[in-house]
């Protein structure tokens, strides 16, 4: 029986080869901080936050485009709250809203259907950012728009795929010995999505849930998988090897692979998903959003997102850049590494 006490003991007393482990997902970063997991780990185990907060990797050009749409007299921009405070090149969506731009915040993308039916003469644009967890939700929204014959809703997409970013990091020689794979992305894609990368780079992946014990179990597993190019699923309550087939079919029906701009990483070929040409009439001009122009040149988000710098190594951290005056997206999102580092320091 491997109980929690044994896992904690093992993880705190470990003195084998150095293990630099990246948690790819922003929700993992937040949970690791909340549960004080770094504090119990042996100095030989280092946790590094990866580029898995969709808000943090959304480039400035996207925010600027969303603001421009929200300022059109006939258009309302609908978004998750997470995106509201991200700085664009001159302002954020919430600042623009304060000046009269039309911005609505929702928890569920499907709410836009209700808005669109109520005001058929208005154009609604949903700011569709996210990874594989959220992309099927947009695919389902597309299905509903077609079924209900709604023509006054479009998507401004910045949809990204996780294996694309991980592959980029490994190709660029990131010094990592293991990954905590994102549990809810894998719920959709299946844990097998990371198998080719594990094999190619001889590096272990442990799919993890989001509770403290689930993260400890995955870390414990990873330390036992050192040097092995394999994926193991430590979140079997919702993750299977093949994922959710219906969700994958829906994504396939509405989206096709595209290049994507990641804040701080630049353009990674094939790491995004765009609406297929057949659904171009639902696209609010997402395809040409490839620039990664950053507002504050001193912001180190790029290096933070790739695990090269800790947030505290950024010269602006906690001084010019705070959750109230964010200079980069990593400080805006509740799940950004800089925000998390401020909150729990």
């Amino acid at each position: 029986m491997t109980d929690l006490a044994e896992m904690r003991r093992f993880l705190s007393q470990y003195d084998g080869p150095k293990m630099r482990i990246m948690e790819i997902c922003g929700s993992h970063t937040a949970s690791i901080a909340k549960n004080g997991i770094k504090e119990i780990l042996s100095p030989a185990i280092q946790l590094i936050s990866g580029p898995g907060c969709p808000v943090c990797v959304t480039p400035t050009a996207y925010v600027d485009r969303a603001i421009a749409l929200a300022k059109r007299p006939d258009t309302c921009l609908v978004t998750f709250g997470d995106l509201l405070r991200v700085p664009g090149s001159s302002e954020s969506l919430s600042a623009a809203k304060g000046m009269g731009a039309s911005v609505e915040m929702v928890y569920a993308p499907a709410d836009v259907v209700t808005f669109a039916k109520k005001e058929p003469d208005k154009q609604f644009v949903f700011a569709a950012i996210g990874f594989e967890t959220t992309i099927p939700v947009y695919a389902l929204l597309m299905e509903e728009l077609l079924r209900e014959e709604i023509t006054n809703v479009k998507l401004l997409t910045a949809c990204k795929t996780m294996p694309g970013a991980v592959s980029f990091l490994l190709e660029n020689g990131a010094d990592l010995q293991g990954f905590l794979a994102p549990g809810h992305v894998c719920t959709v894609t299946g844990s097998d999505a990371f198998a080719p990368l594990a094999k190619k780079y001889g590096i272990p992946f442990a799919v993890a849930g989001f509770e403290g014990e689930e993260l400890l179990a995955a870390l414990y597993g990873l330390l036992h998988m050192q040097g092995k190019g394999m994926v193991k699923n430590f979140y079997p309550s919702v993750v299977t090897a093949e994922g959710n087939p219906k969700a994958k079919e829906l994504i396939e029906r509405f989206f096709e692979p595209s290049d994507a701009a990641w804040r701080g990483l630049g353009i990674i070929p094939g790491s995004g998903l765009c609406l297929r040409a057949a659904y171009a009439s639902f696209d609010a001009g997402s395809r040409d959003l490839t620039e990664d122009n950053q507002q504050n040149q001193a912001c180190r988000c790029g290096q933070v997102l790739t695990g090269k710098l800790a947030p505290t190594d950024c010269p602006l951290f906690g001084k010019v850049c705070t959750p109230l005056t964010p200079q980069g997206a990593c400080m805006v999102s509740e799940e950004g590494s800089c925000h998390t580092a401020m909150r729990y320091q």
């Binding site: 929700s27 998750f80 179990a217």
Partner: protein, 71 residues
């Protein structure tokens, strides 16, 4: 942003289900999974993403033994 919460399906309608989160009831889209009343489900952004299987503890324990034996 990829947070998702587990709840229990208490009613199924066409395209949506009512999901109970310890007293809070929410309408969630069902297009990604076939669900029935009583199912434990994971909800993300107003959609049911997956059913939650109940024997996680046993599966995890088996997995732990497996990685330890391989190591």
């Amino acid at each position: 942003m990829c947070v998702a919460y587990p709840g229990t399906v208490i009613k199924v309608q066409p395209h949506t289900a009512t999901v109970d989160f310890s007293g809070n009831r929410v309408e969630a889209r069902t297009g990604l999974v076939d669900v029935a009343v009583g199912d434990r489900v994971l909800v993300h952004a107003g959609c049911i993403l997956q059913k939650v299987s109940e024997n996680e503890a046993a599966e995890l324990e088996a997995l732990m033994e497996e990685v330890k034996a391989d190591a």
